[in-house]
Point group: C2
Chain length 190, copies 2
DNA sequence: CATATTTATTAAACCAGTTTAATTAGAATC
DNA sequence: GATTCTAATTAAACTGGTTTAATAAATATG
């Protein structure tokens, strides 16, 4: 779990004994493409760290798939709102590429935070970072055109385009598949 | 500072002595409409709690004002990214209504988090809540029409419409003033 | 109170997306 | 390798915004 350990230490210093205490609760699991970590109706018991692979977080409303996020190598994730509120999820966490994740249960995560002030700080700082990322994403959505956002995604996360089909990327960008195709066509003509 | 204390305790239990330690660093300040907490180029030293009033967080790019958020009663806020990275802000935090805020410096906030595990947890949980709010806002932006988002804002934060001019609300919704006016007209005809 | 200034509305032309449907391309399966 | 199924593109009609400019309404100021 060197990768997870490094990731945690990239936020704040943690003593070896605290790190050891924390990591003991994480279980390594592998999933095949097409499996689900979460489906609507389920309660969320676990928190995840993506070691390697890709999970797509989406809902289906009135038959329309709406992609909220793609979690790839090095991301922490879960369906956070139902996780915290202890209500059933309304979403899917679908494995869209064979993946290896580390899993910790909510009760174990609480134990870790109770035991270690340093790891609680890591929790605060990682949440802060996630907050800022989202905030910047909101402002990109508001201020940039769809074409600009497509180009930016292409630049920032090029591997996504190998990993997931285009219509999911369209949904992530808030477009229809047709709309994204038009943008691509327009760009290719230049 | 009963309001701030209550707000903190709404997230997690904090002992009286830890609370006292934390609160001692907050200074009460009042600002008049039209004043600025932050302007572009400035470094962000402080973290704020809005006791009563309204602050608008925006940037101006190529002459266009882009409203990112309105902070009203009971919100924690600052320009977080430059605050953390210790780089100059590119934004404005403008007081758009006479306001009373509690202010804590970054160095004092660090002291508080070092001193108290419980308050560090409060920091984590408040950040988590802010993250979720933003995440839900992203998905509203993607999945709802502008009209729906206008109606939702009207319902969730009706006081905003008394507090700030409509063209700032238009910007917050990612619209032009003309666009928002058209939506209002369309709605009024029903 | 009158005037100046700012804010909101309206109109008209425009455009980047949508929807629906048909077609093509690519992947998986027999 | 042919067939089936899924994904991506294209076309056409439409729509909800945009931009620009003029006007009206509301607010601040002398």
């Amino acid at each position: 779990m060197k990768d997870l350990e490094q990731k945690i230490r990239s936020f704040t210093p943690v003593s070896d004994s605290e790190m050891e205490f924390g990591l003991q609760f994480y279980k390594k699991k592998t999933f095949k493409k097409g499996e689900f970590l979460v489906k609507p109706g389920q309660y969320i018991q676990d928190f995840y760290f993506m070691k390697q692979g890709c999970v797509t977080f989406y809902t289906i409303e009135e038959g329309i798939t709406r992609v909220m996020e793609f979690y790839t190598d090095g991301s922490f994730f879960t369906d956070l709102y139902p996780y915290i509120e202890e209500i059933p999820s309304e979403s899917y966490l679908e494995v869209t590429e064979d993946s290896t994740v580390y899993v910790i249960s909510k009760s174990d995560a609480l134990k870790v935070f109770d035991h270690s002030h340093a790891l609680e700080r890591f929790g605060r700082l990682s949440m802060q970072k996630a907050f800022i990322n989202n905030f910047q994403r909101i402002n990109r959505m508001k201020n940039l055109s769809n074409q600009e956002r497509y180009l930016q995604l292409l630049e920032k996360r090029p591997s996504l385009f190998q990993r997931v089909p285009q219509y999911l990327i369209a949904s992530y960008l808030g477009l229809t598949p047709v709309g994204l195709s038009k943008i691509r066509k327009r760009l290719s003509k230049k």
